[in-house]
Amino acid sequence: MRAPDDTEIKAGQTLLSVEGVSLSFGGVKAIRNVSFDIKKGEIRAIIGPNGAGKTSMLNQITFKGVKRKKMRPHDAATGGIARTFQNVALFKSMTTLDNIMAGRTLRMNKNLFWQLLRFGPAEREEIEHRRKVEEIIDFLEIQHIRRVPVGRLPYGLQKRVELGRALAMEPELLLLDEPMAGMNLEEKEDMCRYVIDVNNHYGTTIALIEHDMGVVMDLANRVVVLDYGQKIADGTPDEVKANKAVIDAYLGVAH
């Protein structure tokens, strides 16, 4: 599959739309009445300075949802949304392989009885999914750490495994929360490549949170800019780059 180009995205169908979301913790308003949409097949970035409410926004999408008033996390998964976390949320004592296999949970359905016996259906199912997982492992080039508990891996690799786990869910929409945070340049470049490859290869729609502007401008088809919980800009990277409010927010003009 080929990633759609910009004009196709504009015309394409909306995968998810966020309308008038607000969120407050105690008296602090983290998000104020933000609306935007994500279209099928695009890479959509949400950016903003520290504390702008990006992660809160993402949590709202996965945990609370839109239109469905009370969406439980489990429903997000069945609804085809997968995500990675700002602070890696891997299953630390499990191996890379098990972590990514865990991403297949929803797609496996052999019951307790077969699981206990393991011979037959459960084993066939396990092998079938193992094949899928090995494809992802090959794709992310993490074959050598297959059997290593992820807790012992360096940060960069952990991020990659987390991406792998999210991919294993074969999501329609992939939410990446600062996938490049804390990485060195080389690792960042690798990660960028994987994000683009995922978008190209699997045709997955990606929503990306990042505050490294350079990365975002290269990757994203469209960008939403948040500041103090409010949307201050929305458009293609070039449009956003030219937006005065964005420049102010990033350069720190007094409000």
Binding site: N59, F85, Q86, N87, A89
Partner: protein, 324 residues
């Protein structure tokens, strides 16, 4: 007489107990008093747990055996001819030695291990202290040296509503000592430098280390404080029945108090203890007959469990916030 056939059960649950409270107010007041005293003693044991948990994150299973060990040391020293108050001081010294040993031998090598490992280590400590205590003092029960410590015995009988309410002098002493203990600890932890350091450690080990507070010292201090609390608890429980290893089982009663009050809250331990103490006595006396009595062994846990379902972090525990 009050209960008619179809509503028999409902009546026994909702009417009879209250009617009994009304009919025999002296018994009711006595029940509340017994609950209060029992609760205070539970609070004392729970306090020992809280001190250690707050400062070192260790769920100290050995608190119960420390109670026995402290009391045995006191009685044992007195038995070989040490004067009572000197024995008391020496028992406190023994608890200090215990605290230092525990810190050196158990806690220091296990620093930064998961909670459950530390919990298990205190479990090992419990076994060790049982064996050690029985080896030195013997497994037979001892009499608490109540008289020698000038702990008053006897009863105040107060006429009340046509009956009498009996207040044991021993229990009153227990209440006073427990309250004093709590007050002293509260002042110690809020006013002194060490106390502030301890709170810093409770908030964050790393933060405490970065401002130069010695974790090891703090641990010795809290374990010693827990040891002192254990000593006081041991004296009080010992005076109520006797000093024997069976006392260790009683210490389990502090656990529902802990989940009710929160593992990290001193006021929680106190209020929790009182709720559990009064709750289980009132429950046993007025609703116990429905179950054939003797329900105290689990009633406290059930009370705590019900509270817990509404407040998972306990009454005074800090709200648990998980970040991803």
């Amino acid at each position: 007489m009050l209960c008619v056939k179809p509503y028999n059960w409902a009546c026994k649950i909702f009417i009879i107990p209250f009617w009994e409270m009304w009919e025999l107010p002296d018994i009711f007041v006595q029940t509340l008093w017994e609950g209060l005293v029992g609760g205070t003693l539970y609070s004392l044991i729970a306090l020992g747990f809280v001190l250690v948990f707050k400062a070192s994150g260790v769920f100290n299973f050995a608190q119960g055996i420390m109670v026995v060990f402290a009391a045995l040391s006191l009685v044992g020293l007195h038995a070989i001819g040490v004067p009572a108050f000197l024995a008391l001081a020496l028992a406190a010294v023994i608890m200090l030695v215990l605290a230092i040993s525990v810190e050196r031998i158990v806690l220091r090598p296990l620093v930064n291990q998961p909670d459950i490992i530390l919990f298990m280590a205190t479990f090992g400590l419990t076994y060790f202290l049982i064996g050690f205590g029985e080896l030195i003092f013997g497994g037979d029960p001892k009499l608490m040296i109540t008289k020698q410590l000038y702990i008053p015995t006897g009863t105040y009988s107060i006429d009340f509503a046509g009956g009498r309410v009996e207040l044991q002098k021993l229990d009153i002493t227990a209440m006073v000592v427990a309250s004093t203990m709590v007050a002293v600890l509260a002042v110690f932890f809020s006013k002194t430098r060490i106390g502030r350091a301890l709170r810093a450690v409770a908030d964050s080990h790393k933060a405490a280390l970065s401002v130069g507070i010695s974790l090891n010292q703090i641990w010795v201090i809290v374990w010693f404080a827990a040891g002192l609390v254990a000593l006081v608890t041991g004296i009080m429980w010992g005076a109520r029945s006797e000093v024997s290893f069976a006392l260790e089982i009683i210490a389990l009663k502090a656990l529902p108090v802990l989940i009710l009050g929160g593992f990290t809250s001193i006021p929680g331990a106190i209020v929790g203890g009182l709720i559990i103490g009064i709750g289980e006595k009132v429950g046993e006396i007025y609703w116990g007959p429905l179950f054939g009595r003797g329900i105290e062994s689990w009633l406290a846990y059930m009370i705590a469990l019900i509270f817990l379902l509404f407040r998972p972090q306990g009454l005074f525990g800090e709200k648990i916030i998980e970040r991803v």
